[in-house]
Amino acid sequence: MRVNFTVNGRPQEADDVWEGESLLYVLRERLGLPGSKNACEQGECGSCTVRLDGVPVCSCLVAAGQVEGREVVTVEGLADYAKQRSCGHQAPEGHDSHTGEGTELSPVQQAFIDAGAVQCGFCTPGLLVAADEMLERNPNPSDADIREALSGNLCRCTGYEKIMDAVRLAAARQGEAV
């Protein structure tokens, strides 16, 4: 089947999609957006978290056919998404993400690097999408709020301490910026 939807502000079309394919598979294998990760494919780790019409979901549990006509934001589009949010308006269309030095990162992405919250990094994309969404709703989270909001994202490397530091740092920087 064919599926048309919007990813990171760009219209996308996927063809010859097998009906049992997940949104995760379509993003990773058909649209060249492997940032969303395939750690468990059973909704138990959060590494494939994307925003579907603004709401964080596990993309492994969304059937590809269910996203027809809907809007998806992945980690690849997170910096632009955060930028548009801070500018307070919707940019007309997304553009391709860039790599390496000089890349403009969202506050939460930068905080993950600065706080040492990234080790193997496989959980990182999902955590970033979830953490960014939490900070959007709750700019001054308590530690317990952060833990609750991120309780659907497993990390095996860090013991979560540096992830807590990163989210606190992002919240603090966000507070300063306002």
Partner: protein, 795 residues
Amino acid sequence: MSSPNGTPTKITQGSKTKGGIGESTLRPDGTLKVTGEFAYSSDMWHEDMLWGQILRSPVAHAEIVSIDTSEALALPGVYAVMTYDDLPTAVKNYGLEIQDTPVLAHGKVRHHGEPVAIVAADHPETARRAAAKIKVEYRELPVITDEASATAPDAILVHEGRDDHHVGHVPHPNIVHRQPIIRGDVQEASKKADFVIKGEYTFGMQDQAFLGPESGLAVPDEDGGVHLYIATQWLHSDLRQIAPVLGLPERKVRMTLSGVGGAFGGREDLSMQIHACLLALRTGKPVKIVYNRFESFFGHVHRHPAKLYYEHGATREGKLTHVKCRIVLDGGAYASASPAVVGNAASLGIGPYVVDDVEIEALALYTNNPPCGAMRGFGAVQACFAYEAQMDKLADAVGMDRVEFRQLNAMEQGTIMPTGQPVDSPAPVAELLRRVKAMPLPPEQQWLAAGEEADVRQLPGGLSNTTHGEGVVRGVGYAVGIKNVGFSEGFDDYSTAKVRMEVVGGEPVATVHTAMAEVGQGGVTVHAQIARTELGVAQVTIRPADTQVGSAGSTSASRQTYVTGGAVKNSCELVREKVLELGRRKFGSYHPAWATAELLLEGGKVVTDGGEVLADLVDVLEGESVEVEAEWRHRPTEPFDLRTGQGFGHVQYSFAAHRAVVEVDTELGLVKVIELACAQDVGKALNPLSVIGQIQGGTTQGLGVAVMEEIIVDPKTAKVRNPSFTDYLIPTILDTPTIPVDMLELADDHAPYGLRGVGEAPTLSSTPAVLAAIRNATGLELNRTPVRPEHLTGT
């Protein structure tokens, strides 16, 4: 400042260089990892690629009567189906030390999930449907699942006709390897004991549960070879095992490390490597294989479950008199790293304590359970759980404080190990315990901190709303452990580093190329720091790891910063000498200091140790480049004697201590760990931020196996019952406490910069500390880990 425990290392060269060792520089791959553009092995993609699928055994032990692949082959979109009969050469097995693992099962399957056939097709679903159409007829055999069934006189042999180098000294062919260690006279020493404590302990099967599933892409090369993009812990070890099965010379099997989503020992053994290469060579097309989580539980070895039997004696004054112990590890169906795990369990079996009279026996079984091998802590973990429980019981019997009892018996520099090897670098065991005990305790009843209503997120059960404080009792526990660093027992444990220095864009740039597997630990960060320190440059390029450079050994045994870091340092030093030689040739006549002074590379310049600038590196290197590829090895070790266990087996030890504070809902048997404080001697923290990250991560894996993590194998069928993240639980952020870390830096003069491997030690002591805290809260004996609600409620 000197201390009775040891002193830090002094560093001259590069001490002023920004971004050098000792600083918390940030990861070079950080930006790629937070933007989703870092290419992990499962992200590989190639035009026209096929998908590989493995058909696995649904039973644990059976003869294969027949395999019929015709229906699978007939399915449209299927390009190849391969079984044992399709293997191209006479080499059909692989293995880390013993080549006992069939690439595809032949005649027999020995464990649940063993690979039987492989398929390549144009879509993963086509490949799955094809695999399902392969008809395999099994004739089931009785299963061997424990020591009794393995060593019964009439036991079926898991491997018939063994010819490995251990078979000569094991008491039964279903024992992979056995290592006794005998020192002093236990019989005599036990007479001095006023208290004797015996205990029997069980350690459950833990999974590495790295998040990036086994995966990779094999691309056929025009010369008949293959290029494999893979997530592994050791490229060259994979290569050594892959090439013979493919019938290719090693130079025709090119390997490039792709992004690795964690490892923790689970990628030491091969998983889909050979399968992907076989299918690629058979079809002439690129083949990608990605396990899902279910398959991942069958696709790698686990931590050995163990039974441990201990007898400790102590005098009235609290001095240990003797230790007798027997450690039985279940190695499962294939050897993997079992022999080395046995060596560790035996040699580290009594922990970081002074005991002159010991009798230790450690062995690993062949059974039909899932194969077990390397996991963070490697044999030392199981022993630490048991001896630390014993130490608490002894302290109680003697009537001493549990920490003081440990401190009284703590080893220090100069202590002789049970293997007869003296500990020849700082061993601040008592000091680590002192530090962890001195940390302030977390406040009581934090669930009431925010207001009158109980915040369930701070309570056992968490969001599940099981208690608002009812039945909740706090407990505190301590533990300390000892882990070896690097490969032991005479293994030639070397690493190779290629370092190049040249001018790029008007700036001096160092390029570091190794085959080190970056699995998340931050080796790439540290290599750049070492190059900056040793070469005085700001710009360092880290080349991707591949087999175009010599082996860097395994990313395991806490060894990479020590050994590959040591190799990078060594190659940098050789490059530095060459650069200075070049400088002398070009500019030596302009200044006498070129010949007479100690010269350093600092801030892109050649300077004297007095700080006088002699030349810019840009001028020295103009039109030239300097490159060195060299191997570097740590001090040699030697094997343990097979009868007495004596020998200089280990190159370095690593120590960590934990204090766990838990709250237990004693009625429901649910546990919340409130805090897990750790003190560890790291020798020299090359990157403090990364070191603390390692300690916190290792601590959390220890917490997991204390309260939730266990692969459950049905003892009747040897089948895995919980191969998923729904039922194999690892800690979430709500299960993980604050982990304050107190880091000691006492130099090991034998190691580069005085550093000590850090990754594993915290995984050891975390588990027994949590268990001790739960025992403290409940008064229960708890001789098994993980502890489950049933054990805490007696139900």
